[in-house]
Subunit: 136 residues, 2 copies
DNA sequence: TGATAAATATCACATTGCGATATAATCCGC
DNA sequence: GCGGATTATATCGCAATGTGATATTTATCA
């Protein structure tokens, strides 16, 4: 790999792709902030909500958010302090904490997710066009 | 908007999309680090390289990276200290700094960009599938 | 059982982006 | 063209966040 030279068009695609990702992330961050959350807190809640029942642990959040486990630990701690989740010790493995969203978190997340679904629909043509151009 | 309820499938798509973006960003960050750059520095160089000639200013980088101008200012300052770019005062508007990559930066960026182009090709099927599912 | 590994937590640190603010240059209405 | 508003960039102090090093508890397995 790496043998094909990088053209001006390649740079433009890569730069535009980054810009579009940043637009999405800026959108997401502002919506999360409006709901009283940081971007990381929002994504942790989303990862937990989307996990199979009983699968949401600190380690799982770390894996899905691509963080070190001890970074996820702090993130979860802050969410717990905000009243957005509760942890229960796992019965099978008492080292693990099973994470559950509170009703408050469920409501916030449902609202954020509807908004994000719309934004993703809006950005889809742009992103797919860029991916297509990158994939030629 | 926001009237359609959010289903479990929606949460899964949003969470998977985030996870895929994070995979890409983790890939990117590790490659940049291997080249001695932070993720932000890499993306600033890319934005400058992809700009129209004479268009690359601090404000332009701020706009493309979605940062406040004074945050871009610090970022550019660090790149200059690393010998990766030079700034020239603009002739038309002497408030502006025109940014130019050094040969060293050009080489690093060409290598990173070839790698990123490959990674984007690799992730394309996954991302487009998720976008399609989000857009139904 | 005893050594090793895994899950989570704590601490000190570095990075980074921001708000508030400053300075210099440009623009615009009169 | 003059004076005030605006723009481009810079500096300072701050808050948030991820990490490495390390610790603790529990599980696994030879």
């Amino acid at each position: 790999m790496n043998q094909m030279p990088v053209t001006d068009a390649d740079y433009a695609i890569l730069a535009d792709f980054r810009h579009t990702l940043r637009l999405f992330m800026a959108f997401s961050e502002s919506r999360a902030a409006a709901a009283g959350l940081t971007a990381q807190q929002h994504q942790a809640l989303l990862a937990i909500r989307a996990a199979r029942p009983g699968a949401a642990t600190i380690g799982y959040v770390a894996e899905r958010l691509i963080l070190k486990p001890h970074s996820a630990s702090g993130l979860i701690h802050r969410l717990e302090a905000l009243g957005l989740l509760m942890r229960r010790s796992s019965v099978d493995d008492r080292r693990q904490s099973l994470l559950e969203l509170t009703a408050k978190a469920e409501m916030i997340l449902a609202d954020l997710s509807a908004t994000h679904r719309e934004e993703l629909r809006r950005l889809r043509p742009l992103l797919t066009a860029l991916l297509d151009r990158a994939g030629e």
